[in-house]
């Protein structure tokens, strides 16, 4: 039995080996993309997957990344944290060149030290937790995306700008790094602007809970002026549908940090007047996106192929791929045109300024990224059969981001209440 297994393994090796000797064509750049493609989180993860598929296809049609074709493999984060780490190690050992990982903050925290240990260039496309770079220095890990600090500081500012009279606030976030961090940041920001505001309830249902009936009763019974939530994916859809059926949206001003990513899924179920965010600048109906012909072409191609509009996870994926393209091009200009090593790509990413579909992504020396933060209020539209954003405020990245190296939550408490005066005026896209 053992002999036979050995024989099969050897036979398989023989089948595989010769391909690596074939040098007629350049060996493709192998890139692994980690996202949720199953489970409740898939409704958030699929736009990321789709954007990667679409963009890498276009890149290959135009000759590839730095002239070399790209081969992508998708890894489903829905299989659980441990399996994702195992998969990461396996792909690294099989010689995958670049990892675009991951979606979940939990997975990013697990992957970052492994990426460093294995020296694999890893671009974190979505996970937001500020903990990734706090107290850690990484050579091979970059986050081509903003982090939790600007994302939730701006949310709290938007709420207080629109509803200055808020006195009581409730929070319902998923029970892991992302939800817990967001609650801390949101509370810290509120406390800076108006220390009188009272947080009456904080709930942390488990990720993928599937039912929020009891939580909604509790929220409703405590009658807060505003309810903040960074639930996402299928969880957010369920929460909104249950809360809407039970009048929670009429009772309290809802603030849904990831609201725009569920807008199309929810359709009529998402009411008007809800404060929604995009964890960055990736909302397709902003003046910046609509005035960029390449972005509009991308949106059209996306809608044609996937029969839905690209929500912000799609934009987060595009900005990561655009960062990679720019870094490869920059590195090739300075090294005389050969495909760059991972160290050369990493060096080119340090401090890079990337013009993405949705605006500017500024890479910092600590490996973290910074983008503007877009927030708005839901409104019905004649053109789309789902709610879109009105009263859009684009918070400049520098205004709401903690400087590199500074402990993030402490930085929030050093903000001055005057920050509300520095916010740009809201813009309307409805005419």
């Amino acid at each position: 039995m053992l002999k036979r297994t050995l024989f099969i393994v050897m036979a398989l090796c023989l089948l595989v080996v010769p391909t690596s000797f074939a040098q007629d064509e350049p060996e493709p750049v192998r890139i692994a993309v980690f996202t949720f493609t199953s489970g409740p989180a898939a409704s958030y993860g699929m736009p990321g997957r789709n954007a990667a598929e679409l963009l890498f296809e276009q890149i290959n049609e135009e000759g590839g990344l730095g002239g070399i074709p790209v081969e992508i493999v998708f890894v489903d984060e829905g299989q659980g944290g441990e399996a994702v780490v195992t998969e990461y190690r396996r792909l690294a050992s099989e010689g995958v060149d670049i990892m675009i990982a991951a979606l979940s903050s939990g997975n990013c925290l697990a992957i970052a030290p492994i990426a460093e240990e294995l020296e694999v260039l890893t671009l974190m496309w979505n996970c937001d937790t500020h903990q990734v770079f706090e107290g850690n220095e990484y050579e091979y890990v970059y986050r081509t995306n903003s982090n939790t600090i600007p994302e939730f500081v701006s949310g709290a500012l938007y709420l207080l700008d629109q509803q200055p009279d808020v006195e009581t606030v409730a929070i319902i976030n998923p029970d892991y790094a992302f939800g817990r961090d967001a609650a801390e940041i949101f509370k810290a920001t509120l406390a800076v602007i108006n220390p009188e505001i009272e947080v009456v309830v904080e709930l942390f249902p488990q990720l993928g809970a599937g039912d929020y009936s009891t939580e909604i009763s509790r929220l409703s019974a405590s009658r807060p002026d505003a309810i903040f939530s960074n639930l996402w994916g299928g969880d957010l859809n369920t929460f909104v549908s249950q809360a809407e059926a039970r009048g929670l949206f009429e009772q309290s001003q809802m603030v849904l940090a990831l609201g725009t990513s569920s807008a199309e899924n929810l359709g009529d179920t998402l009411p008007e007047g809800v404060i929604v965010g995009a964890l960055g600048n990736g909302w397709f109906l902003t003046p910046e996106v609509q005035s960029n012909p390449e972005a509009v072409a991308f949106i059209d191609a996306y809608v044609e192929r996937y029969e839905e509009y690209p929500s912000f996870p799609a934009f987060k994926m595009t900005q990561t791929i655009q960062s990679l393209e720019l870094a490869v091009d920059t590195a090739m200009e300075s090294n005389g045109g050969t495909f760059p090593t991972k160290e050369e790509i990493a060096a080119a990413l340090d401090g890079a300024t990337i013009e993405t579909f949705a605006g500017t992504l500024q890479m910092r020396e600590d490996g973290d990224g910074q983008t503007d933060q877009v927030w708005g209020v839901t409104v019905a539209s004649d053109e789309y059969d789902f709610k879109v954003m009105d009263q859009i405020i684009r918070f400049p990245a520098d205004l709401v981001s903690a400087p590199p190296g500074e402990p993030a939550i402490e930085w929030v408490s050093t903000l001055s209440p005057d920050i509300l005066e520095m916010i740009p005026e809201p813009v309307s896209m409805m005419e």
């Binding site: 898939a42 599937g210 009891t214 299928g234 859809n237 369920t238 059926a245 039970r246």
Partner: protein
Amino acid sequence: MDLQLFTLVLLDAVSYAALVFLVAVGLSLIFGVMRVLNVAHGAFYAIGAYTTATFVIWLEGQGASPWLSFPLLLLSAVIVGLVLGPLVEFGLLRRIYEKEEILQLLVTFALFMILEDVQKLVWGVRSYFADTPLQLLGSVEVAGVFYTRYQAMLLPAVAIIVLVGLRFFLRRTLPGKILTVVTEDREMAMALGINAQRVFLLTFTLGTMLAALGGALAAPTSSVSTGIAGEMIVLSFAVAASAGLGQIEGAALTALLIGFGRSLAVYMAPELDAVVPYLIMTAILLFRPQGMFGLPQARRV
């Protein structure tokens, strides 16, 4: 605890318990009669939910009266029960009744995994969203908080109808009585000329239908996606085991108890809400290993 809080906790507990009961009672019934712990039961729940969501979304597309979604809920449970029940019982379980319990457990677990993949094949991995029945019934205000009529009234009503119906069926009708006899002593029943195979087929189909009904009723209240089967089988097993496998009224009471514990946790100690059902189960089984209402098994020689 003040009255308002108690009312809210109780209402949440009742609507939660109603769904869990429907699934747990099917599991319990199958175990009671057939002595097979059917892990695939969770998959029947999920398939019931998917089928309902598909029907309801299809109905929305047809522009027909949305009230038709209510008969569709029932219809999908019946269809899933009638198709999958006999198929699994006849095609698979019938071959393993005489085998060891551990093997039976493994076979139904394998079936659970296969059906999980079947769900992915048929419905893909996206979540389905079919809340028409929930929205149709509107909401009702209790102690200052709005509840959907669907969750606060319809779900408990269905659970009570099923409970009363099952009691009536088992105690007052001939097939029910035969079923009870087979539960009590299979060998003696067969010696008296009862066709146990037919009883098994009937029981399994009924149990499957109940699981699918649980899924069908759950579909409008939450998004239907992969993974719901696993969560439900664990939870309904906790309920059925705490009650004592085979105990129908017991399952209803334990479902309520576990629902109440979980709701109370959300108000008092939200950190604990996910583990409370299992804490309650552990506490019960520590003191009564046969379950709260289970009878100690007499060893038969």
